[in-house]
């Protein structure tokens, strides 16, 4: 049983309510921080903890906090990114739905550390019932004196509100999120200036993921050093993993960083192995944007070392033989899954979600979707694979925000590891027509056809 920090109280009946949450030690980090620590001391603890942004990028949270401009004298804001929309990711929703006061406690303690007096939780519009849960929880916290003027008689003021989006993946990018919070289209801003200098309403702003902020109470209650003792190397603490696809037990799990991928996949405490006991074909460890890995690179790295659930181990080998921990959206594919169809599906997603600001992304994502669609539907051309690689390489690195990279990487990775499957689609169109959507004949059975043509 690995250490639980975020979900240790999740099974206590009634933990959703303020009374039960408080009775079980809730809001003690606010008391401790406001009464015994200076804001800078809280920032130092978070720095020491090594906590890294849990939204996907993995940037050290304490360092991000230390960038906030305190000299300008402008009001500062903390904005929680609850716009969870990365395909494969559904962990933040779980936290907010079942233990909403943990996030609110984290928001208060973190806002204090940043000197923010007006903070927001930006939640995706589709999570409307969770928005209501948070709104009610904030009202409960306010009634109990944890929000408002002069909290606990310390002179610290904080107002906290929930703000809902309306269906745009791009708003998970921090500057697009800020634009959206200002009542505009979610078009990412050019950086610099970074939000820490000029964010919400041009005020210094920190944007952090739900899971990141929810880890702060534990760090303050214990210590940054205690947190850093959990996990492995620079991947400190625990991570929520949302698992989906062809596995026995899909759902949200809290793991200690450094758990082996093999154990996570196969132990009954976690995913319990493959559903219907079909062979494992591929997996994506960190949401649709990160590279897909084929079976032989999942449990072992290219060097033959055990692959672990950590930032470093999952990216071992770079993009050639590795991937990324990303958001922890863990998607598992069995041998009946069609990689071409999966790649086309993701390309459609990115095309739909591109904000349209930068031409490489706006046009390129559409071209990739179109080319992949024709390959998947039996109209592919021999030169299409090179065409896809060419398009994706021209999107990558040429856009204002990382959506372009996120759209380009999955295509490159799918071709890198499953090129023969694309070739099969192109050379044997009659064999891939009339399939039952995502269900394909296991590729292993027909692989010889492609290799014959090559010879």
């Amino acid at each position: 049983m690995s250490k639980k920090i975020l979900l240790d109280k999740i099974n206590i009946p009634g933990i959703k309510t303020y009374e039960v949450y408080r009775k079980n030690g809730g809001y003690t980090s606010v008391e401790k921080a406001l009464k015994t620590l200076t804001p800078d001391e809280v920032v130092e603890e978070v720095k020491t903890s090594g906590l890294r942004g849990r939204g996907g990028a993995g940037f050290p949270a304490g360092m991000k906090w230390s960038f906030i401009d305190k000299k300008s004298g402008k009001p500062r804001h903390l904005v929680c990114n609850a716009d969870e929309s990365e395909p494969g990711t559904f962990k933040d929703r779980y936290l907010m739905e079942f233990i909403p006061h943990l996030l609110i406690e984290g928001m208060i303690t973190s806002s204090y550390a940043l000197g923010a007096n007006l903070s927001y939780i930006y939640i995706r519009g589709e999570y409307m019932w969770v928005y209501k849960i948070l709104e009610r929880a904030i009202n409960e916290a306010k009634a109990a004196g944890w929000l408002g003027k002069n909290i606990l008689g310390t002179g610290y003021d904080l107002e906290l509100y929930v703000h809902c989006g309306a269906g745009a993946y791009i708003c998970g990018e921090e500057t697009a999120l800020i634009e959206s919070l200002e009542g505009k289209r979610g078009n990412p801003r050019i950086k610099p200036p970074f939000p820490a200098v000029s964010g919400l309403w041009a005020n210094p702003t920190v944007v952090n993921n739900v899971e990141t902020i929810s880890a702060v109470p534990w760090i303050v209650n214990n210590s940054g050093a205690d947190y850093a003792n959990i996990g492995i190397g620079r991947s400190t603490g625990t991570k929520l993993i949302s698992a989906s696809g062809h596995i026995k037990n899909p759902g949200v799990y809290e793991i200690e960083m450094g758990l082996s991928v093999y154990e996570f996949m196969n132990s009954d405490e976690y995913l319990g192995g493959m559903s219907s006991d079909r062979p494992l074909k591929a997996f994506i460890p960190g949401g649709s944007s990160v590279p897909v890995l084929p079976a032989h690179l999942i449990y072992k790295t290219a060097n033959g070392e055990d692959r672990l659930m950590s930032y470093e181990s999952l990216s071992d080998g770079g993009f050639a033989t590795g991937s990324m921990l990303g958001s922890g959206g863990f998607i598992v594919y069995n041998d009946t899954s069609c990689i071409v169809r999966n790649t086309w599906n993701f390309s459609r997603f990115y095309h739909h979600e591109s904000c349209g600001q930068c031409s490489p992304c706006r046009e390129g994502t559409g071209w990739m979707e179109k080319v992949l669609h024709r390959i998947e539907n039996g109209h592919g051309r021999e030169e299409d694979i090179e065409l896809l690689l060419s398009i994706q390489s021209k999107i990558e690195g040429n856009t204002i925000c990382p959506l372009g990279d996120a759209a380009a990487w999955p295509v490159a990775a799918a071709i890198r590891h499953f090129r023969d499957e694309f070739e099969y689609h192109i050379r044997f169109p009659e064999k891939i027509k009339n399939r039952d959507h995502f269900v394909a004949e296991p590729f292993e059975k027909v692989k010889h056809l492609v290799s014959k043509v090559i010879v």
Binding site: E86, R93, M128, S244, P250
Partner: protein, 176 residues
């Protein structure tokens, strides 16, 4: 884009206006525009789930912004409907993780049962079926969004039941 000749009955009730004013109060007094997204959700929910030009103009007036500032936002975000849609909109998540568990077949089944294609509304105006992108419920697939709620772990029997419940007015769409 924004184009429909259909008229909408606009009714800014007291309850709705109170809620709008509460939302506006969440932002500094000179940043009323920030309330735009939440306010659009509220007015849409109270007006048969779509936004006519007249309704958007009304929102602009309340937030003291230009109508174009509302149109450009309403047309950017997928959750705002710029033309009338079915009373019950079945929004199936059709991104890969859901598809791995049979979403596409279930959408086919639902469309066939209702006699419509994806993206269409039944002639009685009751049902619309659409495929949408990742809803953040990948582990509970197949699933759909219906109003403010998710319906998860779906199968054909559950779809039959859901359609029957909609017809019997047993489904709550909004959590107000």
């Amino acid at each position: 884009m924004i184009h429909t000749d259909q008229k909408q009955n606009i009714n800014m009730t007291e309850t709705l206006m109170n809620r709008i004013n509460e939302l506006i109060s969440h932002y500094p007094s000179d940043k009323r525009k920030s309330a735009l997204l939440p306010v659009l959700h509220e007015v849409q929910d109270a007006h048969d789930n779509w936004l006519s030009i007249e309704l958007m103009d009304k929102v602009a007036e309340i937030l003291l912004i230009k109508p174009i500032e509302v149109y450009e936002v309403a047309s950017f975000y997928t959750m705002y409907n710029l033309k009338p849609i079915g009373k019950y909109m079945f929004e199936f998540c059709r991104t890969s993780p859901c598809c791995l568990n049979g979403t596409e077949n279930l959408m086919d089944y639902t469309c066939e049962k209702l006699g419509i294609k994806e993206g269409e509304t039944t002639p009685d105006g009751n049902f619309t079926v659409v495929g949408v992108e990742c809803l953040g419920a990948c582990g509970y697939a197949p699933m759909m969004q219906l109003g403010d709620f998710y319906k998860e772990h779906l199968n054909e029997e559950k779809i039959d039941q859901l359609i029957a419940d909609c017809k019997d007015n047993k489904i709550i769409l909004h959590d107000k």
